[in-house]
Every structure is written in structure tokens, then in C-alpha cells.
């Protein structure tokens, strides 16, 4: 009976649960799914991390390449994030060129990196005006079960914290580039941006960390990115108009979540070092 209701009247099904302050998967409205972070999962990459938010899985690998800097910013390196949504993660994606959702997510991650000033691009400079690092950050979604934006940001930040760059010197006389793999430097990550997504259901229920079903039924989505206690992005693309008090509630919850996530990354990082 319950299954019939879920199939034919999914909204009614969710409403019945939400009125009792619980969700069909047993979570409370303000409860995130269990978060698992595995840092350094890809040994051939300069930095990597696998993040699971419930079923949603994103793996991020960072490859470092040497590149020439732009003429107008001779000291700045590059960070190129790219989100891939292949047909493996969900049937709604087709193989081939990145679709709209993938492009939107990639741009979202680029904006988060820029706004949070997470990595100082000048740290990626080797020889000013000649040689800089280019970090190719590929985030591949393995399982698309809602809230992929949060998983992408979490995986990228974890992977950046794990990134080790080899020492590179340029021989003054011959102009040859010499790489010393034995001496590596950890990439300096200044801040830890954490993204938290909320779905608005039926105009007044605000639920955190939505699954794919909740995302499709939601009447609006709001994403808040925080670094420590500061906000670095509030993104609400349309949807139900929110009252100030509701936005404030989301911000407070996002700051709370930010603390938990930062702690989780740091703990995982520490256990790796030992």
C-alpha cells in the first residue's frame, strides 16, 4: 500500500512523512546523510579524494601540469575544475559532450573556489611570467543520488588539501626544466569552503541534503557555501520565494554543518598522515 502511494502520489507520500517531522529514509528534516571521506584514494594523482553522501558518490582527482601563465597575470597559476556526469551515475545523462547540468556544476565549483580564495593562485607560480602549475581537478560522479554540488565541493577541498607538488627548478643556463620528485611540497589551502544545500518542499518545509527524489519534488533549492564563520556564496536559482527567517535558518544550519564537515576532513587528513 505504502509503495503504491509512493509511485502514484509521491508528493502526498512525502507530505505525510514531513508533517510528522521525519523523512521516508528515517532522517529528521535538518539531518544530513552519513558522510564518508576517503582521502588519497588515487595514488597516481597529485591529490585525490572520494566522498560519499549517503548514496551520492563523487571522486576527485587532481593532476598537476606545467603551463605558461597569462601575460596579464604572470604570477598566477591555474586551477581548472571539471565535473563529469557520465551515464554511469544516472540514466538521465547521455554519453558525449557535457550536458547543461555538468556545465552548471563545473561553473558552480569554479565560483566557489574564486569566492572562498581557498588556494592563492600565486602559490602555484614557479618562475614568474614563464612557468606555473596548472591543476586539473576532475570530479567524476559515480552515483547521482541528489545533492551532487555539496559532494563535489567537499571532494575538491579534500583533494586540494591532499595535493603534493614536486619541486621544480628551471636551469638558468640551459632553460631546461628539472623536476625533483623526492622533494614535495604540500599545497597551501587557506580556507575550507563547505557547501550545504537545502530543498524547499511545499513552500514551507526546509530539508537539508536532499536525495534525488526530494530534489525532483522540491519547489526550490538553496545552496549556501560557508568558510569558517563567513559566507562565500548564497545561491538560490528561483523557486519558492523564501522569508527572511527561513533564509536565516538555512544560514545558521549551513554554518553548523560547515564545522562538522571541516572537522571530518581534518580528522581524515590526520589519520592519513600517521
Amino acid at each position: 500500500m505504502a509503495n503504491d502511494l509512493k509511485t502514484f502520489q509521491p508528493k502526498e507520500y512525502y507530505r505525510k512523512f514531513l508533517e510528522k517531522d521525519v523523512r521516508p529514509d528515517g532522517r529528521e528534516l535538518g539531518e544530513c546523510r552519513s558522510t564518508v571521506v576517503n582521502i588519497g584514494s588515487i595514488t597516481t594523482a597529485e591529490g585525490s579524494a572520494l566522498v560519499k553522501l549517503g548514496n551520492t558518490t563523487v571522486i576527485c582527482g587532481i593532476k598537476a601540469e606545467l603551463a605558461n601563465p597569462k601575460a596579464d597575470e604572470p604570477k598566477n597559476g591555474y586551477i581548472v575544475p571539471n565535473v563529469e556526469l557520465s551515464p554511469m551515475c544516472s540514466a538521465q545523462f547521455r554519453p558525449g559532450a557535457p550536458g547543461e547540468q555538468a556545465q552548471v556544476l563545473s561553473q558552480f565549483v569554479v565560483d566557489v573556489l574564486q569566492n572562498s580564495e581557498c588556494v592563492n593562485l600565486q602559490d602555484l607560480c614557479i618562475v614568474s611570467g614563464k612557468l606555473v602549475w596548472m591543476l586539473q581537478c576532475d570530479m567524476i560522479c559515480l552515483d547521482y543520488d541528489g545533492n551532487v554540488a555539496d559532494a563535489c565541493v567537499l571532494s575538491l577541498v579534500s583533494a586540494l588539501k591532499n595535493t603534493c607538488l614536486p619541486k621544480v627548478t628551471v636551469n638558468e643556463e640551459t632553460q631546461a626544466i628539472e623536476t625533483d620528485d623526492k622533494i614535495t611540497n604540500n599545497l597551501k589551502v587557506q580556507t575550507t569552503p563547505v557547501s550545504t544545500t537545502f530543498a524547499i518542499f511545499d513552500d514551507h518545509f526546509v530539508i537539508v541534503d536532499p536525495t534525488i527524489e526530494e530534489e525532483t519534488l522540491a519547489t526550490g533549492i538553496i545552496t549556501i557555501v560557508t568558510k569558517e564563520k563567513k559566507l562565500c556564496m548564497v545561491h538560490k536559482p528561483g523557486g519558492t520565494p523564501l522569508k527572511d527567517s527561513q533564509i536565516q535558518l538555512c544560514i545558521d544550519r549551513a554554518i553548523e554543518r560547515s564545522g562538522q564537515a571541516t572537522k571530518l576532513i581534518d580528522e581524515t587528513q590526520c589519520s592519513l598522515d600517521r
Binding site: 547543461e100 574564486q114 569566492n115 548564497v234 538560490k236 528561483g238 523557486g239 523564501l242
Partner: protein, 218 residues
């Protein structure tokens, strides 16, 4: 163009409605020096693959002044589309398509809000049934923490954060937020308040523009 303007005033707005003869609705909106042309078609045909059985499909195309749309324009496009989807009573026109085409003419700051306002004017011009009107206002925070409404390009460059809010005309609740740069919670709240006040002027401007258009045609 830049005359004395206090930080809590919007730049002068002008608009022209229905100046394109082939589209169902069109608007050119100028806020200060920022200009956007919007044209819209619909409710009309929609590709079978995009057809939605119980409501209209809203599609937004954004064209930059130079070159092809980039990845960053996709996010903007999505933002405008979701915002327009929210206000259009799409349930009245099932299995149809509503296309909105935005063309950048000049970007002199507060560009996103100009795009959204011009899209709203085009929807009004085409007499598409809407739930309410939307008014977008951009503000920026300078490094000293001062808030400037409707900044131009120079002010945007000097600022540490730029925030764009879209409000509905009914209760002035927040439909859309888009931000760049970092800021504190208090700064966010005060920007929200300032933009909400200013959005009322935008709604008045819509009213005046419609009045002008309707009195002309009689």
C-alpha cells in the same frame, strides 16, 4: 552619464516595450549604461523531447555581446530560466514552449539584475500570465563595508562582494539570490534589506512603463 548619486539610489532606468515586430513580446531595458534586449516567443511549439505533459517548458537563451556563450553563461542562463519558471503560471499552457532570448548590448555593472528585469518586462509585454512580478536589484560591498546599490562596473571592480537579489511583488520575499565574493551574515542581512527597499522602485518603474505603453496605443 554618472551623475551625483547616493549609494542608496538606483541608476536611472529607461525601457522600450514591443519594439520588435516578429516576436510575441520584447523589451529593451537600460539601467544606467547597462542595456539588455529581450525578446520572447510563446506559448508555442516545443520540441517533443522537451515537452512537459502538465506545464509549459520555459527555455532561456543568453547571447553575450562578443563570441559564443561560455560555461559561465550557462549558470546565468539556468538562473534566469529557473527564476522565470517560478513566476510564469506554466500550468495554464501544458505541452507548449515559452522561449526567452536575452541579448547583451552593454555591460556596465549590475548585469544580472538588468537581465532579469528585462525578461520580466518582456513577459509583461507578451501578456504571459504571471503569478507575480519580479524585481532584481544588485548591490556591492566595498572593502570598508559600505553598501552601494546598483553598482557600475568601476564600483563592482573595487568591491569585495557583489550580491543580486530577486524579490516577488506580492510579499517581497526572496525568489533568487546570487552572490560572488565573501561577506558576513550581518552584511548579507543589511544588503537584503537595502535591496528589498530598492526593489519597490523597480516595481513602480514597471507600472509606469506599462502605463506609457498602453496610453500610447489608444
Amino acid at each position: 552619464m554618472e551623475v551625483d548619486r547616493t549609494s542608496h539610489e538606483l541608476r536611472p532606468m529607461t525601457c522600450e516595450l514591443g519594439h520588435l515586430s516578429r516576436s510575441d513580446g520584447s523589451a529593451t531595458l537600460t539601467q544606467g549604461d547597462t542595456t539588455v534586449i529581450t525578446s520572447m516567443y510563446g506559448p508555442g511549439d516545443v520540441r517533443i523531447s522537451k515537452e512537459i505533459i502538465d506545464k509549459a517548458t520555459v527555455e532561456v537563451t543568453y547571447r553575450p555581446k562578443i563570441g559564443l556563450p561560455k560555461c559561465s553563461d550557462k549558470l546565468k542562463e539556468r538562473l534566469i530560466r529557473n527564476t522565470c519558471e517560478t513566476v510564469i503560471l506554466s500550468g495554464l499552457h501544458p505541452r507548449t514552449g515559452i522561449d526567452i532570448i536575452l541579448q547583451e548590448m552593454q555591460n556596465s555593472g549590475s548585469f544580472l539584475s538588468c537581465c532579469i528585469n528585462s525578461a520580466c518586462l518582456a513577459l509583461l509585454d507578451a501578456s504571459i500570465p504571471l503569478k507575480y512580478l519580479i524585481a532584481a536589484v544588485t548591490c556591492c560591498i566595498s572593502d570598508k563595508g559600505e553598501i552601494t546599490l546598483d553598482p557600475d562596473l568601476k564600483q563592482e571592480k573595487k568591491s569585495v562582494a557583489i550580491l543580486t537579489f530577486v524579490f516577488d511583488s506580492k510579499d517581497f520575499n526572496v525568489v533568487t539570490v546570487s552572490t560572488s565574493g565573501s561577506f558576513s551574515n550581518e552584511q548579507f542581512q543589511s544588503c537584503l534589506m537595502a535591496c528589498r527597499e530598492a526593489s519597490k522602485h523597480v516595481i513602480t518603474f514597471y507600472r509606469e512603463s506599462m502605463l506609457k505603453k498602453l496610453s500610447k496605443s489608444v
